[in-house]
Amino acid sequence: MKKQILVAALMTTSFMGFSQKYFTRTGYLSMFSKTGMEDIKASNENVTYIVDWTTGDIQVSALQTNFKFEKAFMQEHYNENYMESTKFPKATFKGKIENVSSVNIKKDGTYTAKISGTMELHGVAKPYSTTATFKVAGGHVAADAKFNVKCSDHNVKIEERFKNNISDSIEIKAKADLTELKK
């Protein structure tokens, strides 16, 4: 009898453990464009990240108008002329952490994992993959990744005369301090 209860308890708790989801609404994304003429930087500190450690599913959603630039007119041009933010207000990513089982969120430490999935940006969906690090410490998971996005891949047109100022390849950094989603 005791044995059966133990089995039941184990099964229940283990599955509960499995369905653990971590998230943040104040995640970070930055953009960096470098050309011989100038560097253009922007960051967004209100990005939503959610990870399901059972399945390895990961999703990211960022509002374009939340990207802050150094100069007001850059931000205006970014939204008005390039991203068309009223038509495409969000950039989203849906993907999977491929070797999710190698990340033990119960044990403090640093883990690396490969993430691949689809990013939808400016109405164009493209497959992306990168390597991310997950630092587990005291119930928090600090996620960190870097990758490049090509404007031309997402139908973002840079006029000929601005090609010296805006790079086609934009470096993206993603950071998120994830905590457990309690439901």
Partner: protein, 303 residues
């Protein structure tokens, strides 16, 4: 029986959990209960002026807008004056963004040697998405103009205040979509001195303006000021202007045709004498160049 119950419980736990997990994989974001995002409407107009009159837009905090505005003579002034291109009234302006809501400016016009000083404050901002929606942007504009010319009558006692004119405007605009923006500008102008005692000191007018974007960098504009107060000098007409905005990096070029030659509010609203029907139409332009005066704090990207 107890045993059966226990196993049943275990089985239920086993099947129910993966079912949960499966549901979650379709859309994790929906678990967070998505809030409607806050999206502020920006760039209702390309410039701080629609054509002659103020738009709800202001210069960004820390930026200086150096403006050069010209109005040539009227097209019907004949070949000897090259259809008006020989004559030019102009205004030079320095306009500064104190905060993202408040801007101040000073300008000098050669017509009547006028100096204008103004402030513009954004009271409400249009927000189409978010918890507190706002359908319009509202700005207040106030200016004082000092006329510098010699006194018309040197014999009488002339007070400094007789050189002054005031303008109050409420600018109410809505950006309907990426292309179309419309603005209403109820206006009050006070003149401390007028030519004769039957001419009113206070003049009320309603401005209507709009822009339609043809491409990402080119827009067409129209603007009309209807003077509501009767009794202005008999040759006074309402100001009507049509124009194009052309935007490049940090410049906005505004090219237009208008029947007004003044480039300050009291001037083009209460002193316009050009008549479109008679061909008193002038070609004009505004050039706006933005300089960053106060460097915004450097954006430091995380490693």
């Amino acid at each position: 029986m107890k045993k059966l119950f226990t196993w049943g419980f275990a089985f239920a736990a086993f099947i129910s959990q993966p079912a949960f997990a499966q549901q979650d994989t379709t859309d994790l974001m929906s678990l967070l209960g998505e809030d409607e995002p806050i999206i502020m409407t920006t760039a209702t107009f390309k410039s701080t002026r629609i054509i002659q009159g103020q738009s709800i837009e202001s210069v960004a905090a820390g930026d200086m807008d150096f403006r050069i505005s010209h109005r040539f003579g009227t097209f019907n002034s004949g070949i000897h004056k090259l259809a008006g291109l020989d004559a030019a009234s102009m205004r030079l302006g320095f306009e500064y963004g104190v905060t993202d809501r408040l801007m101040v400016g000073i300008g000098r016009s050669n017509v009547n040697e006028e100096v204008d000083i103004f402030g513009k404050y954004k009271i409400l901002k249009q927000m189409d998405s978010g918890p507190k929606k706002m359908p319009i942007t509202v700005s207040y504009f106030g200016s004082v103009v000092m006329r510098g010319t010699e006194w018309a009558d040197k014999e009488r006692t002339n007070y400094f205040t007789s050189r002054l004119y005031y303008c109050n405007q409420l600018l109410i605009a809505r950006k309907f979509n990426d292309q179309l923006s419309i603005q209403l500008s109820p206006t009050h102008v006070h003149r401390n001195i007028v030519a004769t005692s039957d001419i009113p000191h206070d003049v009320f007018a309603l401005g209507v303006g709009g822009r339609y974007k043809l491409s990402k960098r080119i827009a067409v504009n129209a603007e009309y000021f209807d003077v509501l107060t009767p009794g202005l000098a008999s040759n006074t007409t309402n100001s009507l202007s049509l124009g194009i905005d052309w935007e490049t990096g940090g410049h906005v070029f505004q090219l237009h045709v208008t029947n007004s030659s003044s480039m300050n509010e009291k001037g083009f609203i209460t002193e316009t004498t050009g008549n479109w029907g008679k061909g008193d139409i002038q070609f004009g332009f505004n050039i706006s160049r933005i300089f960053t005066i106060k460097k915004p704090k450097e954006l430091v990207l995380l490693d």
